[in-house]
Symmetry: C2
Subunit: 300 residues, 2 copies
Amino acid sequence: MKFNHIALVGLGLIASSIALALRSKDTNIKITGFSKTKKTREEARKIGFCIVCENYEDCIKGADLVILCVPVGVMSDVTEKISPYLSRSVIVSDVGSVKESVVVEVQKKLPKGVFFVPAHPLAGTENSGPSSGFATLFENRYCIITPSDKIPLEIIKKVRLFWEKLGSNVIEMEAKHHDLVLSVTSHAPHLIAFAMVGVADDFSKVTNSEVINYSAAGFRDFTRLAASDPVMWRDIFLNNKDAALEILGRFTEELFTLQKAIRKKDGDYLLKYFERTRKIRRSIISAGQDTAEPNFGRKQ
Amino acid sequence: MKFNHIALVGLGLIASSIALALRSKDTNIKITGFSKTKKTREEARKIGFCIVCENYEDCIKGADLVILCVPVGVMSDVTEKISPYLSRSVIVSDVGSVKESVVVEVQKKLPKGVFFVPAHPLAGTENSGPSSGFATLFENRYCIITPSDKIPLEIIKKVRLFWEKLGSNVIEMEAKHHDLVLSVTSHAPHLIAFAMVGVADDFSKVTNSEVINYSAAGFRDFTRLAASDPVMWRDIFLNNKDAALEILGRFTEELFTLQKAIRKKDGDYLLKYFERTRKIRRSIISAGQDTAEPNFGRKQ
């Protein structure tokens, strides 16, 4: 059930973390990688987490698992470029944060006989690039896979085992449902964080240094999400437009209801609301999805 | 310039952290404390960070610094209760997150000859109660003081030195400006976090367990702020209504502009926006106001 040669297309945070995690568990596996950006290839080569190739062909040839680790906006183009080098019955997967639209586009570009098992490891940090990867990134995190019902069960099982080996809990769901769930737990929170950081940066009655110096009172938490990779996030919003806008619409309704309660000085409503939201954090901590330490246990 | 006897009115996270910080620096100072809640007094007594009194009188009598560590909604009532026991030329301070309205109300209830130096240490965690305090809470954090121009300079200096001893950088500003700055860096981010957590909890197409399990993709960061003390936050919004609503209005404008860019597929606008917000986090880290470690350095 094991793969012998894994090709990583793209050499950012996720690709380097996959390679480092594999290296920490299994030294026999061959890992090749390619990025179209020369600087990224050089950075990756310096770290040495995989064999860095100079073109798609050298990277892909002979691989039995190809993982697309590029922003969702270029998945389709990259698939077109690698498709001549894909051998029959190779497994292609990805790590994109949007599934429905991307799966359709990638599938169109793949040659017949290739098995596509889309995946999304729910893991990452606000940093990007090959130097930001680390071997434990996927431990105790979920990885959602959204294969079509045409994919044989043993192929799905192979991909499942791959992610489980890296420490992830693998869950299967429909691509459309994935995109809705992630709009709630990831895409909307990120856009809201980007917007709040934008307001603070733009509000002339409060100076930029005031915003920065007094950020520990709450604002700094938003800046972590708003520091995530700009290209990746542009592509996510353009490719998951409908679900993102639906959740943002609901969020605005909710915010307006709270604003109205403030305006009308409805303290009871606010208190009940805040008591309810407090409980959700406890559930997340119990589920092992965040630290129980105050302030995320940070040192500053 | 030192105080001999400090009275803490209220025994929550901030009061216990003040006492623990003082104890870690100066063993001679007398610290008394009182909370109207019996359970809180018992919890505080068990930890032993101060002399826990059974009424306001015993707590206040003889103190040369009285710090109001209660939610801003009860500051005025509590001031009325302690005022018979305040000796002439005692210094009264507070730790409330809202200044303008609260300062006016507290000042009204104070007897003549008492010096009121309002303060707001920008420090805390999502936890509350006496057990959540710790001695290093104020280290490298800002403390904003908003004294009126009638307060003698040597009195202000004494309060400054007090907070500096606990590790804080003390900044003086107008109460009104404080409330605006904190709306940006604290109050609006908290309300937004409460609203986003409320949406997630309420959205029936996505189950509660999905929200919890997949929260590491961004949402969990919001749950920390939304887990903060409900009574404290109700009082903040009711007492800083205008500034909070102003910032929330600006935030909504900004969010709508981003939503429109998504709807129109304006990738250039999104990319430039996200590149700008990314820079702000770097400034916060350079200013020593957050950790540079990815994911706040958390262990989960």
